[in-house]
């Protein structure tokens, strides 16, 4: 009974594969059928809206009203208006924060990779802020920084009187730093987990061998961990930089973009919603996309040429080509075997 069922299944399978493997067209058909839904979703929810946004950026329009075609005017406005393009300066604070955040994450991850006691609880605690939604984080810190509230009370315990505490959100020398600190608090744990994941994949024998050779923790970090997680560091750096260019939640929730804390996104939100200049806001979004793409390419080139040595994924072009050729051959061979 079961035997015949298996043989039937096997027959069906071979019939199926002969049908499907019959020719290139059939294979394409299968690929297209399976790809159709994901591609449709991708097109409907990503590319079509994006193209619409590009179209909007050439119009002077509101949400509900079609508006008129204005050519490049919105783009010229983005670059010429000081309140728009100048707001990118605020992002520098967030980039600084991103560097601090990566350093902290790297530090904590390396502490934990060497079997610390209670490391899983510690890990969970560090990761927890990332799970809180950004708006809630904003409200937490709104009260944290409010004059005479949490932070000032803590400082009070150390003997600093309330009058000497700065107004964290009002003082324009420190308010951006205060806001950046909230996003560092939120994302450090997540970065740490990413680093930790990469570090875990390093072969334990390497550490043993290194410690047998008399390498200390710092040397292990420098010569084993750092080279093997370079890719993930670069990835995190790219994510943090594009994240800092598009920082939105802390200034929007905590300060509403006032007192010089308005980031590019906050301004964009205001232009799109309060002033209903949807065309201009779309142009801003596209300019920001361009800036982020440029930053990413720039960072990639930077890491490629400055830290060329010791990186695993710096394969020369010839090698990569050879590998591709081999892969192709293998695939073709595989197909033939199946056929």
């Amino acid at each position: 009974m079961s035997k015949s069922a298996t043989s039937q299944a096997a027959q069906r399978k071979s019939a199926m594969s002969s049908l499907l493997g019959g020719g290139k067209t059939n294979r394409i058909l299968v690929i297209v059928t399976f790809m159709f839904i994901p591609l449709l979703l991708l097109a409907v929810f990503t590319y079509i809206p994006f193209l619409e946004m590009v179209r909007f950026s050439f119009f002077n329009r509101t949400y509900l009203d079609e508006g008129t075609f204005v050519g490049w005017k919105n783009y010229i406005d983005v670059f010429s208006r000081k309140d728009i393009f100048g707001s990118l300066i605020v992002s520098v604070y967030y980039m600084g924060g991103a560097v601090v955040q990566l350093a902290l994450a790297l530090f904590f991850a390396s502490l934990m990779v060497f079997k610390a006691k209670g490391s899983s609880i510690y890990k969970a605690c560090m990761f927890f802020p990332y799970l809180i939604c950004g708006i809630a984080v904003g409200f937490i810190f709104k009260f944290f920084y409010a004059h005479g509230y949490v932070l000032d009370s803590i400082l009070g315990l150390f003997g600093i009187p309330l009058e000497d505490c700065p107004l964290w959100l009002q003082n324009q020398n420190i308010n951006n730093i205060a806001l950046v600190a909230t996003s560092v608090w939120r994302y450090t744990g997540q970065n740490m987990v990413l680093f930790l994941g990469a570090m875990m994949s390093v072969d334990n024998e390497l550490y043993e061998a290194a410690s047998l050779d008399g390498a200390g923790r710092w040397q292990q970090f420098k010569y084993i961990i750092l080279p093997s997680i370079k890719t993930i560091i670069v990835l995190n750096l790219i994510l943090s930089i594009s994240g800092s260019l598009s920082a939105f939640e802390p200034p929007y929730v905590i300060t509403n973009g006032t007192m010089g804390t308005g980031t590019y996104f906050v301004i964009m939100n205001r232009i799109a919603h309060e002033n209903q200049k949807v065309g201009l806001a779309c142009a801003m979004a596209i300019v920001l996309l361009g800036i982020i793409v440029l930053c990413t390419i720039g960072q990639n080139l930077f890491f490629k040429y400055v830290f060329k040595d010791g990186s695993e994924d710096d394969v020369t072009r010839a090698e990569r080509k050879a590998a591709q050729k081999a892969a192709k051959l293998a695939r073709r061979g595989g197909a033939r075997v199946h056929g």
Binding site: T62, Y63, L64, D65, K142, Y145, A146, H147, G148, Y149, L167, W168, L169, Q170, Q172, N175, T255, N256, G257, T258, M259, R270, I271, H273, E274, N275, Q276, K277
Partner: protein, 445 residues
């Protein structure tokens, strides 16, 4: 007999409407129906959207129940929405959002007809209801305001009396001097700006119209004015309003750290007398009274500006009820009945102490301080210019009644001393004229 006649009347009306042509809705105007008698046979389930999440399940539900006793075949349900404006902006475009909503401010006048059914003609409804012009376009009315509010200043009567002030101030200078006295003589915060909430700063824009000029046409004329924000030299006009804010901040008459303000707790603090004054519309009065044990201390005075020896205060409609154009005819009629009942027969305006929707209904007690003050609503813009103000306002990004940020900038500039008020108002004038230029608006010198 009477019922039969009215039913016949309605029938002929409906028929004539149908005969009139395609696209004309078979729904009567709001002034043509008699509550309790007409349309007793209509059965429908209607959904009404509201921003008042605080009372949607208590007070509003009670209103719905009272109405359903009158019309048992109609079932009314409420849906409360936090972040009302934003959600509605998106939901309206789908067409399938319910039957009645508060028309969001982002719907410009010219677009009202795309989303809502007409409820009557302007000429018919203007003598009956307050604030009709707010939601009318091209002689047709699309929404009835849910009562209205007067623009003034909230204050704690006990604190002002303790400071020895017996007369309400009538000019910005007098007001600022009084605040100084309060600061010197009491422990209360003279003026609480609620800066961190944002919208509370945008509230200042409400005073630059009738309250500051005494001119109900100022709102429609400002689009044609050159430099409307300049100093008029006589403590009137928009400049005087923003001067009050700027100087109060500069003279240290506000809270210590505006960034740390909290709206919810500020209500109780005004009630208890920890805060002496707040500049907000009369809708806030009921909330302040409810927030503590001394509701009798909460007072409301007109904004301290006198124009040629006369006091004025702006009055304006609350959110207006609009009825979904895409709903079925039965639902539209049921919705119209409910809206009419709400604005004419429900106890809502007494409950909320606001100006009632009907022009001949009595005023609430809380506006007693407005004795001798002329209450005026902004007039509708002339035909053809209905959405010109919105256009100029949005294009200029001055954001009157719309964007809080420019008002926040005033406080910011005063606090840090980064800009004088003259400079700031100069910038607004410049933006305003640039918008007038780019829209090709005629400017009267």
């Amino acid at each position: 007999m009477k019922k039969l006649i009215s039913a016949l009347l309605v029938l002929t009306m409906l028929l004539s409407l149908v005969a009139l042509g395609e696209g004309e809705p078979a729904v009567p105007a709001i002034n043509e129906i008699t509550l309790g008698t007409d349309f007793q046979d209509v059965s429908a389930e209607i959904k009404i959207l509201t921003n008042r999440t605080d009372i949607v399940d208590t007070v509003y539900k009670g209103y719905a129940e009272q109405f359903m006793e009158l019309y048992p075949n109609i079932k009314v349900t409420y849906e409360g929405i936090t972040d009302y404006e934003e959600s509605l902006r998106l939901r309206l475009t789908t067409g399938d959002w319910g039957d009645i909503c508060f028309i969001p401010t982002s719907v410009q006048k010219a677009q009202l007809g795309n989303y809502f059914i007409p409820v009557g003609s302007f000429d018919d409804l203007d003598p009956i209801y307050n604030f009709v012009s707010d939601k009318s376009y091209d002689g047709t009315v699309y929404g009835i305001a849910n009562g209205g509010t007067a623009d003034g200043v909230l204050y704690n009567k006990r604190i002002w009396a303790e400071a020895g002030i017996t007369e309400v101030p009538s000019t910005p200078e007098e007001f600022l001097e009084d605040l100084q006295i309060i600061k010197d003589k009491t422990d209360a915060i003279p003026l609480y700006t609620n800066f961190a909430a944002g919208w509370t700063m945008g509230a200042w824009d409400a005073y630059i119209w009738v309250s500051a000029t005494g001119d109900p046409d100022f709102h429609s004329n400002i689009v044609h004015m050159a430099n409307p924000f300049s100093d008029r030299g006589d403590q009137t006009g928009p400049y005087a309003v923003y001067y009050t804010l700027y100087e109060a901040v500069k003279r240290g008459l506000i809270e210590d750290d505006p960034m740390s303000t909290d709206w919810e707790s500020s209500k109780g603090r005004l009630n208890r007398g920890e805060i002496a004054t707040m500049v907000l519309g009369s809708w806030a009065v009921a909330q302040m009274q409810d927030a503590g044990d001394t509701p009798e201390d909460v007072g409301y005075m007109p904004f301290p500006i006198t124009v040629n020896g006369e006091r004025f205060a702006g009055a304006g409609g609350n959110y207006a009820y609009g009825i979904n154009k895409n709903a079925s005819t039965d639902n539209q009629i049921a919705s119209l009945l409910y809206v009419k009942w709400l604005v004419e027969e429900s106890p809502m305006f007494a409950d909320e102490q606001s100006i009632p929707a009907l022009k001949d209904a009595p005023m609430p007690d809380v506006l007693a301080d407005f004795q001798g003050v002329t209450l005026l609503a902004n007039n509708a813009a002339p035909a053809g210019e209905e959405d010109l103000f919105d256009q100029v306002n949005n294009e200029s990004e001055v954001g009157l009644n719309n964007d809080d940020y420019p008002d926040c900038m005033i406080l910011e500039a005063a606090l840090t001393g980064s800009q004088t008020l003259e400079d700031l108002m100069g910038e607004w004038n410049e933006k305003w004229s640039r918008a007038q230029d780019s829209l090709g608006v005629e400017v009267n010198q």
